[in-house]
Amino acid sequence: MEAKTEIKNAVPGETKRKVEGRSLWMDAWLRLRKNKSAMFGMALVIVICLAAIFAPYITKYDPYDQLIWKEGPSAKLAPPSAEHWFGTDVYGRDIYTRVVYGARISLQIGFAATGIAVVIGVILGSLAGFYGGFIDDFISWLTNVIFAFPFLLFVLALVAYLPPSLPLMYMSIGIISWASFARVARGQVIQVRKMEYVEAATAIGGGDWRIIFRHILPNILAPIIVQATLEIGSIILLESSLSFLGFGVQAPKPAWGFMISEGKQFFLSGQWWWSVFPGIAIMALVMGFNLFGDGLRDALDPRLKQ
């Protein structure tokens, strides 16, 4: 949002000057635009998101199509070529196509699980920060307990107990990842709670929920967005580890981690492409979110404003 303010000229005869006010977000965007690595990260994320959305238009193959039935045995484990950019796997499936479709799975899990974690974490953190006392003690204790578990092992154990399904996986990851958001939200709410505008809202009789959601939350969004951007990267890494170990997305879905695991034996015997390209894809996407998140943090942190 850009607020334009017309300043009336005090000196008669001089023309009116326009002073442009800038919102916090506009200011942050201008700073972010100057940060080359953040822009590179953002470009990586956007390119991969577009590839995921328009997957059928950027590849002529189907991710499940076993080309050995159409193109003969030459399509089995074919090295990268003009026809198959990233080569083919042992079933003759086009690896480029599978990598492109695999982006859908990683992004879906990244966004959905982070979304769940943000909602749970922000609500719990805000309640803890706003009410203090016993509620704060209880929620902070719960946060510390969740932090004590090694993330991957905890998710593995949870996934092992549940039937395999994609939505259950989002939920399991989301339910375990909320703790960092609760910590950030709690700290921010404690800072903001004492501000005059919150006091004013209380004075005019605003209810607690209204104060939290209408007045406090919009003012603590920045650090939560930064945390969420960085968290998407970690969740994508986590999902790829799960798939690699065989506890994530089930075959024949083209999950990147699972592709690396499928191609592992062939990598050791020289057919490197099956495992290498999905790995590069994971690294690029995670790096994109990390660089963008770092840039956002610098852009939104007023202390760094010069």
């Binding site: 204790w141 719960l142 510390n144 307990v145 969740i146 932090f147 004590a148 578990f149 090694p150 993330f151 991957l152 092992l153 905890f154 593995l156 154990a157 949870l158 092992a160 107990y161 549940l162 039937p163 990267g233 890494l237 790829s240 580890s241 690699f244 170990l245 065989g246 506890f247 981690g257 690396i260 695991s261 592992k264 990598f267 050791l268 490197w272 495992s275 290498v276 790995g279 994971i282 690294m283 690029a284 995670v286 790096m287 990390n290 660089l291």
Partner: protein, 308 residues
């Protein structure tokens, strides 16, 4: 000091109780009957009822929880469904390998990460800084299992520097590659943090004073700046211990190392629930303990922090 340790230990009790409670909830939501899982589909109802009674599954949930709590605190974690070995024995036989791997990795992470961070900070905006930070961002973004796979192919197969996967007869050479791979992420994080922490500190007045009074640059950096810059780094080492314990799961899998990580994957594949429960509990305890040690080390880096 002793008082402080005792107080921190008491402070950790609620977290440990919470951990046990979460693991209990996790194991009671399991679909299907653990007793049936143990005897398999062919077991007759009497045997299953007998096993349910032996396992205490016929008691009310509250009683089960209290029993579980008692057993967890006394490390009576039950027996594996697979080989009748007690879970504690299974953990203890695998533990030394994992501890060795984790410690080596952390040492590598610190001896690579800290100097890299210092160099980046004192040579800010030079090629040294840029290359160190590119290494760091790659280290944070690359999946551990993929880095491990690349390392195995490169160092074992192409170059032949390292004999291969597994741990042989426990020779140190077998730990080099897995530790490097596992230490990559914490090393990269430590490098980034040391850099930003150093950058903040070398602009402080007392550093200017140290330079003004004619101290050698090396002394200014190593004695005056670094010690202060290391405080946040120590915190991250504590936090990263947790991700290291997660990383162990995939690293041990890639390198065929018979540690706790591999034990947990085997248990998951076999749906050996007592072992899964034991590993999760044990890892969480280890994490609480690692953070306690980190807390106790703060005063060493910053004398303003006291044990009181």
């Amino acid at each position: 000091m002793l008082n402080y340790i005792i107080r921190r230990l008491i402070g950790a009790i609620p977290v440990i109780v919470g951990v046990i409670a979460v693991v209990f909830v996790l194991t009671t939501i399991v679909p299907g009957d653990p007793a049936r899982l143990m005897v398999g589909q062919r077991g007759n109802p009497e045997t299953i009822a007998k096993i349910r009674h032996e396992m205490g599954l016929d008691k009310p949930l509250v009683v089960q929880f209290v029993d579980f709590m008692k057993n967890a605190v006394t490390f009576n974690l039950g027996k594996s469904y697979r080989n009748n070995m007690t879970v504690v024995d299974a953990l203890l036989t695998r533990l030394p390998v994992t501890i060795k791997l984790a410690i080596f990795s952390m040492i590598i992470a610190v001896i690579v990460g800290v100097p890299l961070g210092i160099l980046s900070a004192i040579r800010q905006y030079t090629w040294i800084d840029y290359s160190a930070m590119i290494f760091a961002i790659l280290g944070i973004s690359a999946p551990v299992f993929w880095a491990g796979l690349l390392a195995v192919v490169l160092f074992c197969q192409v170059l032949g520097w390292i004999p291969g996967t597994g741990i042989g007869n426990g020779e140190w050479i077998y730990y080099v590659l897995p530790s490097l791979v596992l230490g990559l992420r914490p090393g990269a994080l430590i490098a980034r943090l040391t850099r930003s922490s150093m950058l903040e500190i070398i602009r402080q007045d007392y550093i200017r004073t140290a330079r003004a009074k004619g101290l050698a640059e090396k002394v200014v950096i190593m004695k005056h700046a670094l010690r202060n810059a290391l405080i946040p780094v120590v915190t991250v080492i504590g936090i990263e211990t947790a991700s290291l314990l997660s990383g162990v799961v995939v690293t041990e899998q890639i390198f065929s190392i018979p540690g706790i990580g591999r034990l947990s994957v085997e248990a998951l594949v076999n749906r050996d629930f007592p072992v899964i429960r034991g590993v999760v509990l044990f890892m969480a305890f280890l994490f609480v303990f690692a953070n306690l040690i980190v807390d106790l080390s703060y005063p060493f880096f910053d004398p303003r922090i006291k044990y009181d």
